[in-house]
């Protein structure tokens, strides 16, 4: 099977401009600046996946850099969500799914059958397109995962800390025992992020996390992603090109050809992808010529 062609770029003559992010200014965060990934949180090697006899993604090989935001972009049906779900084996929940290749979280191949998917999903949390709080109180939503895991510490502190990290504490501290479903859409999404953070993950996968949110709520989530990237590795699937350009350090462009198998076309620093992509297909997609 043909490997995706990914060039190793020469050092640009010009130094990419510093990313102008509010969070970068306030948090001292510095985005990825070179194309080489020396500290990978996740490494995919020739990942292919089939739904029954239909192959959905083919031979995806890439590294996800630790404590950075990586965006997966591409037209509908290119397999980006499928690939995202490989990273915490959410696809295991679908009957007839078959995968080949290796997917390393640190040094462990998480596709190995000895890996417990439930434990894996604690370490690799997920936030979905539509906020999906449980029909429980704000407090219980956040404490839920810790309870399942038999957490023995102070729950009040855990809940407060997770809500603070998710930039939601100030808005809900006086209504911790009201239903999570009573919050606004943007608050519900941050509640889901707090719920993921409360079990102390290493990686947070986000599948179109802002597509159901208004622009203000979207901006809050994007700011939050930048802040969380200091301590967590974030992988986000988005159809919103501007969002990928704004929040991510690296961008992977996937595309399915006539055979409908999603493959990696180009992967690089976000600045490079959005200013000077190397592949004509990437150029055509991000300038809106197709997709």
């Amino acid at each position: 099977m043909t490997q995706p062609h990914i060039d190793t770029p020469a050092t640009p003559h010009w130094r990419p401009l510093s990313r102008s992010r509010a969070s970068a200014a306030t948090q001292g965060a510095v985005g990825a600046e070179t194309d080489e990934i020396t500290d990978a949180a996740i490494e995919a090697k020739e990942i292919s996946l089939w739904y029954g006899s239909a192959q959905a993604i083919g031979d995806i090989t890439l590294k996800i850099e630790r404590h950075r935001v990586t965006a997966l972009i591409g037209p509908s049906g290119c397999g980006k969500s499928t690939f995202l779900r490989c990273m915490n084996r959410m696809n295991d929940l679908i009957p007839s799914v078959r995968m080949t290749g290796e997917l390393f979280l640190d040094d462990q191949n998480i596709l190995d059958q000895s890996v417990d998917p439930v434990e894996l999903r604690r370490v690799v949390g997920m936030v979905f397109q539509k906020p999906n709080p449980f029909p429980k109180s704000v407090y219980d939503n956040v404490a839920f995962g810790a309870r399942i895991n038999g957490y023995k510490g102070n729950y009040d502190e855990l809940v407060q800390h997770a809500l603070e990290r998710a930039a939601l504490w100030d808005e809900v501290k006086d209504k911790l025992h009201t239903s999570g479903l009573a919050l606004s859409g943007g608050q519900q999404q941050r509640l889901c992020i707090a719920r993921a953070l409360a079990v102390n993950p290493q990686v947070i996968l986000m599948d179109e996390p802002c597509s159901a949110l208004d622009p203000i709520a979207t901006q809050r989530i994007e700011d939050l992603m930048r802040e969380l990237a200091e301590d967590y590795t974030i992988v986000v699937v988005t159809h919103n090109m501007q969002q990928a350009a704004r929040v991510s350090d690296r961008t992977a462009f996937m595309l399915a050809r006539e055979d409908r198998v999603g493959r990696l076309v180009e992967y690089g620093l976000t600045e490079q992808i959005f200013t000077a992509p190397r592949d004509q297909r990437t150029e055509a997609y991000i300038t809106g010529r197709f997709g």
Binding site: P12, H13, W14, M241, Q242, A245, Q272, F274, T275, A276, P277, T282, E283, I286, T287, G288, R289
Partner: protein
């Protein structure tokens, strides 16, 4: 704005840049003819028409601003708009240098040239060729031609050095020619700067094509 309309706007933008380039070239040509022919009315026309050129440049700046704000372009589209922003600035400045030559012609007020104008005429010919090549490179997305513009700048720099020597020698030999020769030194400086502006345009063409901005202009002037 639909993509089709955006593409049309970009096509119009490119055509307008080339038109602005043609206006600048005409200004340089007329300024030099005014110098050689001691044609004061033509020099005044050059000075007057610089205002039109400035207005055209600011119009294109505003078009670029609107295209950026309304379309949030990426990749090749983004590079085109950024390249145009740089190119129109360089063109407007090149126009200012032509206007500068026009003003010198008015200052000289029809006096016979204080020194032979051959080197200045040759500088003007080469600078105009560089400008034309830079704009061709832009229209054709031709980085090879753009790099040639950068190399051609060395020839203009060498001519500038020769013109400087010639004019200084003329001043030493004939102190009464100091004022006239100084004016001609200014002309040569304007022409040298036009060549530099053309090189800067060529750099923008390389950026447009490749996404990297080379530094071609290492002139010591």
């Amino acid at each position: 704005m639909t993509l089709t309309r955006f593409n049309r706007e970009l096509t119009v933008l490119e055509a307008d840049v080339l038109e602005l380039g043609a206006m600048v070239d005409r200004q340089i040509d007329r300024a030099m003819r005014a110098l050689v022919d001691r044609d004061i009315p033509l020099a005044r026309a050059v000075i007057r028409d610089d205002g039109e050129l400035n207005r055209a440049r600011f119009h294109l700046d505003n078009v670029c601003l609107s295209l950026l704000a309304q379309n949030a372009p990426y990749a090749g589209d983004l590079r085109l708009i950024l390249a145009v922003l740089g190119i129109v600035t360089e063109l407007e400045r090149a126009g200012d240098h032509a206007e500068g030559i026009g003003r010198i012609v008015v200052l000289i007020a029809g006096a016979p040239p204080a020194a032979p104008l051959d080197e200045l005429a040759e500088m003007a010919r080469r600078a105009r060729r560089m400008l034309s090549d830079a704009l061709d490179a832009f229209a054709r997305r031709d980085p090879e031609l753009a790099y040639r513009v950068g190399r051609d700048d060395d020839g203009v720099d060498a001519l500038y050095d020769r013109a400087y020597r010639t004019l200084v020698d003329a001043m030493i030999a004939r102190p009464s020619a100091v004022e006239g020769c100084t004016r001609l030194l200014w002309v040569s400086h304007n022409l040298e700067r036009i060549a530099d502006r053309s090189t800067n345009i060529a750099e923008r063409v390389v950026f447009l094509v490749s996404g990297t901005l080379p530094q071609m202009n290492v002139s010591s002037h």
